[in-house]
């Protein structure tokens, strides 16, 4: 084995190296890395120091494709890379250049990676971030950078790598030399800010939950106070139901409609033996002291009682396979699997041990029953532990369909055993329901349930439900640890919980810890990590992992926090896992608790003399000329092009200033998952020319700016995804809006085939024509719409103002108003959505239809135009005029060149004049309109 292993490792090592070698060879000789390597490190370092833009560098530093932050986060000690603020002041500038261009030349001490072959034949690669006599802790080099604990005795072979784990040709990901210099300058600024690392952390092992709190959470979860009244209620002074520590008597599921959504056969089996039917259920065995046969008859009677509570009949329903398939995706992404086990393609639970059990749902629910439950779980389970995941009806239906689509053949028989309702049985069941104590937790409308059993403080920890023995008490399947915890909690009932413990208890009771880490407890486990998804990878782990709750009370303002907890306010649309809701009565108290408990050092924001002026400076800092926050952050609900980081205009409503201040100085120290770079590394500003580079003043200015909230000024550099409005293959695109050179009554048309025009419905003329793509409507579809539609494409030709059809001798003297005798009357579309514009001059009606005709070459593509005039009397006093910039020359019999590139061919029935006047020359087509219809045909090529 050992002999083999050496060979295997050597072989693997060779593969790995040769891979890299191949990669290096693949880098083209004109790649940016190669180009940069042709310069000396000294020259590059000098250029970076002189001309690098550290802000642009900071943004590059945070980009997903480089993932610098992933390994080099500030104040983090156990990542693959070093904390760059700790590089030191005495490092020569060339060091930064070489670190990127030749990462393996010098590997920083302590940041070498190792390759481990373990006795199971696994090859692990990573940096040893912690070790002791029995184990290594490895930060692995996989994209997820997991922390892996390797027991020393499982290590078959360990080899130090000679290559740096830093990517070789990183510079090739950059656009150009300038970006390289920007990045280097940012690294220099970080290093220059070096401060002794005071917050060096060692690998954090998960803190364990305080057994007292854990015990209280269990008391809560099992509704213990429904039977065992707390006699120390006066301590909290908050009434008889509530006992200290926020422990409340809570209701188990509402059973009024249970038999309409749950198969009565299931109910009956479940009551008879809860643990057997649904292992690990919270429901205790209430009939431990009865013989099996009696348990069964009692269960039947209670089921009849439940049947008597409503007049709906349970029907099993067909499952839609498509819904089930959508449901599978939802189940594994919206957050269900934070607590329940993910399932493989066969529907088998993959992490059954550490999950809240679902039991055999297919034998329990019908589709509508489970759907209704998922839509509004608290209507049925008021305890709040099963949260509302904000599923709409259809999403709930999809998930229900998924969960019910795997009906096991072995269960199929059990479904059919329907009960025929028996009133006398129901009466017996009702009595049993009361006598057995079911009613203590499953409150019924007419019942008044008071805790009647021994008071909580008098409980003997080794007897009754807390013991292994069976008897007249409910039987719980508690582990030894759980019993210990409950006993601890009972022993300390008189102790007031600290606010921090009260928080912990709620977080534990509601399983908030399944998603959120707080003070070293909780957070998502490695095996569930892949189910936390994002729609935008650029945001890094912060884009998909629920935020840590450490210090959250010092982060979020109470009003915002309440909206998140109670009303489900969410500002991270990219995060697929949803923040569930637990009901006001279960979470609202957290707001005050968090606010009281969590503290950050008080900060005094810099006071400025001129608040208006400082907001301007803040605007500058946020904009592209400052720190370019706008490059990544959403602004006024519109996401930035790089990533949709949290909306800048929400910050003021959300954040406490202490948290903002601390976060700005060191984002990763506060939020380890963030990709946000520090713009004040080590507390030193990288933008030195604004406010004299004073860190406090700069952060305060940004803070002041953010206080304007949704009304904050638009900073420089806000970029929007361009919009393109294009014709289809067989349909024209059209938009009535403002176009340049037209009043506001423009009508743009993009014809299939790549010819476009803009018609002026006020002055009744074609105002411009162009080829290629139709238009960018951004100017009118964004903001208030104050701009114009911008023609895309090319070969734009503009025509001069004034109606084309007018009096031959005394046309309207053109200004930018409306011609008095012309009237636009609308348009109609043909089967390709191409418009025929209609308008009138006096009593003459005009139909004006244009369309693109695709030629063999783009030059040959033309615009053909047909005008139909209808007049109720003959008119010979009118003319049709076409004016562009430049001169008009005759090219052929009825073909004329206007300006440099436009050629217009007029039908043979019309005589055409070239007229020169003070405004230049134009095409003048005298019209001799008969009574009735007549036509004019024009062909534009350009």
């Amino acid at each position: 084995m050992r002999i083999f292993s050496m060979t295997v490792l050597a072989f693997l090592g060779a593969c790995w190296n040769s891979d890299l070698f191949a990669q290096a060879n693949a880098v083209a000789s004109n790649s940016l890395s190669k180009q940069l390597q042709r310069e000396t490190a000294t020259d590059l370092a000098k250029a970076a120091r002189e001309s690098g833009d550290p802000v642009q560098g900071a943004i590059l530093f945070s980009q997903k494709k480089f993932n610098c932050v992933g390994c080099h986060a500030q104040n983090a000690a156990n990542l693959l890379g070093s904390d760059l603020t700790q590089v030191g002041l005495d490092v020569p500038d060339e060091y930064f250049v070489e670190s990127i261009l030749l990462p393996s030349k010098v590997i920083k001490k302590g940041f070498e990676t190792v390759t481990i072959l373990d006795i199971d034949g696994r090859v692990l690669k990573g940096r040893i971030v912690d070790k002791n006599a029995s184990q290594y802790v490895l930060r692995d080099t996989s994209p997820e950078q997991r922390l892996i604990t390797v027991p020393r005795d499982s290590v078959e072979e360990l080899k130090l790598d000679t290559k740096s784990s830093m990517p070789e040709a990183l510079a090739d990901q950059l656009a150009n030399r300038k970006e390289f210099l920007d990045l280097i300058k940012y690294l220099m600024d970080i290093a220059a800010s070096s401060t002794p690392n005071t917050s060096a952390q060692t690998v954090q092992s998960d803190r364990k939950l305080d057994p007292q709190v854990q015990g209280l959470a269990l008391l809560q979860q099992h509704h213990c106070t429904n039977c065992h009244a707390s006699d120390v209620a006066s301590v909290s002074g908050s009434g008889s139901v509530e006992i200290p520590h926020g422990l409340k008597a809570r209701s188990a599921p509402d059973l009024t409609l249970a038999t309409s959504r749950i198969d009565p056969a299931y109910i009956q089996r479940f009551i008879a033996d809860p643990q057997a039917v649904k292992p690990a259920t919270n429901m205790p065995q209430m009939m431990d002291n009865l013989a099996p046969a009696e348990r069964k008859t009692t269960a039947v009677a209670i089921t009849h009682y439940l049947l008597s509570l409503n007049d709906q009949t349970f029907h099993r329903e067909a499952v839609n396979a498509e819904a089930a398939s959508r449901g599978e995706r939802l189940f594994h992404s919206v957050g269900c699997v934070a607590c329940h086990s993910p399932r493989n393609s066969d529907g088998i639970e993959e992490i059954p041990d550490d999950s809240v059990p679902l039991g055999n749902l297919s034998s329990k629910y019908n589709v509508s029953g489970l759907t209704g439950f998922l839509e509004n779980p608290h209507a049925i389970r008021p305890s709040g532990r099963m949260p509302n995941l904000n599923l709409n009806h259809w999403e709930a239906l999809d998930i229900a369909s998924y969960l019910l689509h795997t009906v096991k053949p072995s269960d199929a028989g059990q479904h059919s055993a329907a009960l025929v309702f028996d009133r006398s049985q129901a009466a017996i069941g009702k009595a049993k329901f009361r006598d057995l104590g079911c009613i203590q937790c499953h409150h019924m409308e007419e019942s008044t349930t008071v805790p009647t059993a021994i008071k909580l403080s008098k409980l003997r920890p080794d007897q009754g439900c807390l013991s292994d023995a069976t008897g007249v008490w409910p039987g719980y399947s508690l582990s030894a640890t759980q019993r210990d915890a409950i006993q601890t909690a009972i022993g300390k009932l008189d102790d007031q919980l600290s606010t921090s413990q009260q928080i912990t208890m709620t977080l534990q009771t509601l399983r908030c810890y399944a998603c959120h880490e707080r003070d070293g407890i909780g957070g998502i486990s490695n095996e569930r990590n892949p189910f936390f998804l994002t729609t935008n990878e650029n945001l890094g782990p912060q884009g998909r992992i629920p935020p840590p709750l450490t210090k959250v009370g010092a982060k979020l303002k109470p009003k915002w926090m309440r909206q998140v907890l109670v009303s489900g306010r969410a500002i991270r649309p990219y995060m697929e896992t949803r923040m569930p809701q637990y009901g006001t009565e279960h979470v609202a108290h957290l707001v005050d608790l968090f606010q009281q408990t969590d503290e950050l050092p008080q900060v005094t924001m810099h006071k400025f003399d001129d608040p208006k002026e400082i907001r301007k400076v803040g605007t500058e800092l946020v904009g592209s000329g400052g720190l370019n926050c706008i490059a990544c952050h959403t602004f006024q609900q519109q996401p930035a092009l790089t990533m949709p980081a949290v909306d800048l205009t929400d910050m003021a409503d959300r954040l406490h200033k202490e948290w903002f201040f601390a976060y700005m100085r060191s984002p990763q120290a506060i939020s380890p998952n963030t990709v946000m770079p520090s713009f004040w590394p080590g507390g030193k500003a990288i933008r030195k020319e604004i406010l004299n580079g004073d860190t406090d003043q700069q952060i305060s200015a940004v803070w002041e700016y953010l206080q304007d909230g949704r009304q904050a000024r638009v900073p420089r550099g806000l970029r929007r995804e361009p919009i393109e409005l294009l014709a289809d293959n067989d349909r024209a695109a059209m938009l009535r809006r403002s176009y340049q050179g037209i009043g506001k009554r423009g009508i743009g048309v993009g014809y299939p085939g790549g010819v476009n025009l803009a018609f002026d419905a006020e002055q009744l003329r074609i105002a411009m024509i162009w080829k290629g793509k139709f238009a960018d409507p951004g100017g009118v579809w964004r903001s208030q719409g104050h701009g114009t539609v911008r023609p895309l494409g090319s070969n734009l030709i503009r025509f001069q103002t004034g109606p084309e059809l007018d009096s031959s001798e005394s046309p309207w003297v053109v200004d930018d108003g409306r011609p008095p005798q012309h009237r636009f009357t609308g348009y109609f579309l043909d089967e390709m959505d191409r418009p025929t514009f209609t308008y009138q001059l006096d009593e003459i009606k005009v139909q004006d239809f244009a369309h693109g005709v695709k030629g063999a070459t783009p030059e040959a593509t033309s615009l053909n135009r047909q005008l139909v005039f209808s007049s109720n009397r003959a008119r010979n006093d009118l003319a049709f005029r076409i004016r562009t910039e430049g001169s008009v020359t005759k090219e052929a019999a009825n073909r004329f060149r206007l300006g440099n590139s436009l050629s217009i061919e007029v039908d043979k029935d019309h005589q055409v004049n070239i007229v020169k006047d003070s405004a230049g020359s134009h095409l003048h087509i005298p019209l001799n309109l008969p009574s009735g219809k007549s036509e004019l045909t024009l062909r534009y090529t350009w």
Binding site: W394, R736, Q784
Partner: protein
Amino acid sequence: MMILRLANRLALSLAITCCVLPLWAETLGEYWDTGEEESKYYRIVEIPMPEGIAIEAGSFEVMPDNQLAIGTRRGDIFLVDGAFDKNPQPKYKRFAHGLDEVMGLSYQDGAFVVTQQTEVTRITDENKDGRADHFRTLSDVWGFRNYHEFAFGSKPDPAGNIWVALCLSKSYHSDVPFRGWCLKVTPDGKTLPVCSGIRSPCGIGPNEHGVMFYAESQGPWNGSCSLKVLEQGGFMGHPVSFKWYDLAKEMGEKPVEPNTRSRLLTERKRVKELVPYAVVFPYIKMGRSISGYMVDRTGGKFGPFENQMFITDFSLSVVMRATTEKVNGVWQGACYPFREGLATGLLTCQFTPQGDLIVGGTNRGWPVRGPREFAIQRLDWTGVVPFEIKRINARPDGFLLTFTKPVDPDIASDPATFSMQTFTHVYQQGYGSPEVDQTKPRVVKAQVSNDGLQVRLKVEGLVQGHVHEFDLEPMREPGGGKLVHENAYYTLNEIPNN
């Protein structure tokens, strides 16, 4: 020449600051903080939209086949199947495109009539392929030279006329004909002037008595947002539109110019055409850009507020209620908070045949509370009656308050339960106005009706022309329940003669 240039530059810079980069003096405004409670009575139901299409609703219509029609700011008309279903999973079909800010939409006799910025258009599908093919201009007589010259069109009145409210140029000037006027477009395309003096309208439609009103925004000559009645020959308060009386001889002589830095009540006496606002929506407290509205004709399907106006707000993403009455020949009334927490800047609303209220809009262009770029949502009554001030009516010596549920007679008969204050605004050329001339009237007697649904207040210190603000914080139901909203605002243009 110098002066002219300076004036031009001023106008230009004004236009830029006001339109592109609004410089708001105060914060956007807080919610009422009643959303949690409101949600027990009115659920917000999402009407999902297809991925990748921006649907910025500017107007709605219910089609005869139970489809929802949506006219959008981007110029589309969508037909939506299933928007009224309990759990909507609607299907969208584009009926028409290429229009210019569809801010009025109605469907009658097989044709849409839309009001867009440029004109009122009759739109039909004559080859019956489900897509519009004929667009006939009914009226485009007004000038249109600036993007902010929005046009809002009503649904047809009983005579089939579309009433169009025309926003001022750049919202400050009247550079081209009829900016700042309301015009009436008849079914055969005639255009008749109704009144002048509009500033920046948003919604337009009848009040609960069938009289045509519009929603006006805070700004010059408008101390706060308000609902105003569109009286034939009337003047709505902003005199910059006087220059078009020459084009509308049937309107007679132009009115006397109002004095600035005055009060509306004072100027009403000088300017006989001046129509006072009927319902003032105090700034921030009750929205800050009121928009589309509609009267609840659901016959009780939407809860206890039948025959009241429901009005949306763009900036604060809220829905409010309003009631009006004619006192001494003058329209006036009250507004009440209703529902907050909608998802976007609301521009328009529409009752469905099922009796739910669809609201929609976009956050584009101006600051908006709601978190989404555009959205369509529906308010569904849960069937639970909220405890609310249903309506306030003026009485010669006070007010009559009607509630949705019986009040606790002891609390309600205690005058101290009713705190009141009054204020008005400066009627001036400058932008908006602070609340001024505050007074504190005294409720001297509160008499509860036998059924507990009404309280008759005798008030000392009523002030004509003032908004009377009610605060009923102590009010309770007999069971101790609190009002969902404790405030209401009555605009007392006239004190009833008897």
